[in-house]
Amino acid sequence: MSLAEWLTTDAPASRGQALAGRAHATARLLARNPLAMVGIVIVLGLVLVAAFAPWLAPESPVGQNLSRRLLPPSAEHWMGTDELGRDILSRVIWGTRITLMIVALVAVIAAPVGLIVGAVSGYFGGWADRLLMGLTDVFLSMPKLILALAFVAALGPGIENAVIAIAITTWPAYARIARAETLTIRNAEFVAATRLLGASHLRIIAVHILPLCTSSMIVRVTLDMAGIILTAAGLGFLGLGAQPPLPEWGAMISRGRAFVLDQWWVATMPGFAIILVSLGFCFLGDGLRDALDPKGRR
């Protein structure tokens, strides 16, 4: 049996084969979507640049050299230099690490919380559902950016607090999705069969329900990434996120604000990085949604 046959068979012999087959089918659907491929390239590029930042960046992101401050973009400094003579390209490259760290941390905190709240809410129903969804709705009906601002104001500025504040504002959307998915699975026969076999509620939720919620969750998290990056950059711009001299893109734009009318490159360059990465996640998320969710396909 060739690899292609093994991947596309209707009767997978093992769980591993079934998973590989689904991944293969999704990848093939994604490959047919040019925008999604652009997204994959951008996101992979972000990860690679972040991983190899020390080798890719021509200079140190914090080394100052006042003799060459505010130089325009040139062959030597592709993105110019900032007010302390630091090479902006190097800072943008090192900034990928901060951006990647923020989105990863937010996803790792918010997605599981939302997943568990939603699954518990949908599985048990009744007053637990009403209580948890009431809470979720209150958070959902709140403006996210303002809420994050207020939380950071109370917690104090800093990158960790920015992550916490953004995570607090993102989990409710995931809870809603997980609940909707759980409601469609809850009364399925395989769940009833597992229950008859004596499985506990905990086991049913953890082993049988949560894994089925993950694909729509992955789509939603990817689509949200752009918003998370923008919020983090906004907090950095207001001076509430990453603190100097960290090369966070939003904070860099904020430093360049004073010179934007004459030395436009200081504020503009990090913005292009933000746009590129956010667009990449948008494209990838759109493609994933079309590939994983046949209902939403347009």
């Binding site: 009431g134 809470l135 709705d137 209150v138 958070f139 009906s141 709140m142 403006p143 996210k144 950016l145 303002i146 809420l147 601002l149 207020a150 939380f151 104001a153 109370a154 917690l155 752009a226 918003g227 923008l230 950059a233 906004g234 711009f237 207001l238 001076g239 509430l240 939003g250 734009i253 360049g256 604000r257 934007v260 009318l261 436009w264 504020a267 503009t268 913005g271 933000i274 746009i275 956010s278 667009l279 948008c282 494209f283 759109d286 347009r298």
Partner: protein, 351 residues
């Protein structure tokens, strides 16, 4: 409310309306209470020492104790929350540390500036976004469609504050088409007595056309940038609604009958999506009020967003929470209102 008490004695429809209204009031009240709980939580529970955040770290021990008692922090949390809700309902949001005035009157003074900008923004967003979405859907897959789709996605990927800075550098410093930061040129500051607080309206009413022109050239850029973000979302949603409609059988029937294509698109397919669009526009409007925080910071626009960020830097928690509360309330109110409009206008939800 009487309808919910004696449903059997009244026509069924009235009873249903009453029950719906009661449920609506209940849910709305619960949401506002939730908002209050969150701002209370942020103000009193999250900071390690809320007293210190009010008096500052150079206060003496006596000042500290006095502030602690004045804030009622020696009482149980539940009592504190109840008195907080009472204060807010009476319109008392505390005193701002930086302006030394009640937060409520500060907010009342700055809110019209934000409202003015967001309103012009939503007008731009609707006027351009709806036709763009319709055209994109009518020519699905063409280069027009692709361009509009990518433009709409940029709206999700461009930082508002960055676009503001670039806009200032380009249209103000570079081309000189618009005026710079602020709401009106400094010569005209205070020329027009505030009546509605909306400078465009006030200056027009007073017949001060120089002020009006100056105000227009100041508001154009920030409002257009806000409008772009509104446009992105509205165009995306319009396109998706239209595609749903254009795939329906009645559209095919109309085409088979020989109805001209523009009529099929703009009358047959566009008709049914007007109601869901109202919800989308409502949500966008609320989103623009929120998005104005960043824009106002960049343009030094004297609105609620600028007030909020200034308060953030001065660690003025009363002002921060007051502004959060007001923006949150407006957000919730618009949300609920578009929900009601949807139900009132959609004949299916009445059946």
């Amino acid at each position: 409310m009487a309808a919910t008490l004696r449903p059997a004695a009244l026509p069924a429809r009235l009873a249903r309306t009453g029950r719906g209204a009661a449920a609506f009031v209940l849910v709305t009240a619960a949401t506002f209470l939730g908002l209050l709980a969150i701002t209370f939580f942020i103000g009193r529970v999250v900071p390690i020492d809320p007293v210190l955040s009010v008096v500052g770290d150079r206060a003496t021990q006596e000042q500290y104790e006095a502030a602690r008692l004045a804030m009622g922090l020696d009482r149980p949390l539940v009592v504190q929350f109840a008195s907080y809700v009472g204060d807010v309902l009476r319109g008392d949001l505390g005193v701002s540390v930086s302006t030394n005035r009640p937060v409520a009157s500060d907010l009342l003074r700055v809110f019209p500036a934000t409202l003015e900008m967001a309103t012009i923004g939503i007008v731009i967003g609707v006027a351009l976004g709806v036709p763009m979405g319709v055209i994109a859907a009518a020519r699905q897959g063409s280069w027009v469609d692709q361009t509009i789709r990518v433009l709409a996605l940029t709206g999700y990927s461009v930082p508002a504050f960055w676009l503001g800075l670039v806009g200032l550098a380009l249209f103000y410093a570079g081309l000189g088409w618009v005026s710079g930061p602020g709401r009106v040129s400094i010569f005209y500051d205070g020329v027009v007595a505030p009546r509605s607080g909306l400078l465009l309206v006030d200056s027009a009413l007073a017949g001060e056309w120089d002020v009006f022109r100056s105000a227009v050239s100041h508001i154009v850029l920030p409002a257009a940038i806000l409008g772009f973000f509104g446009l992105a979302y509205i165009a995306r949603m319009t396109r998706s609604f239209m595609l749903d409609q254009l795939g329906q059988e009645f559209v095919t029937t109309a085409r088979v009958k020989g109805v001209p294509e523009w009529r099929v698109v703009w009358v047959h397919a566009f008709g049914p999506i007007r109601i869901p669009l109202i919800t989308v526009i409502g949500l966008t409007y609320a989103g623009l009020l929120e998005g104005s925080v960043m824009i106002e910071t960049v343009f030094s626009w004297p609105g609620i967003g600028n007030y909020l960020t200034t308060a953030l830097f001065n660690a003025d928690m009363n002002a921060v929470l007051g502004a959060t509360l007001v923006i949150g309330s407006v957000f919730i109110a618009i949300n609920r209102l578009s929900d009601v409009l949807y139900r009132v206008l959609d004949p299916r939800s009445r059946a």
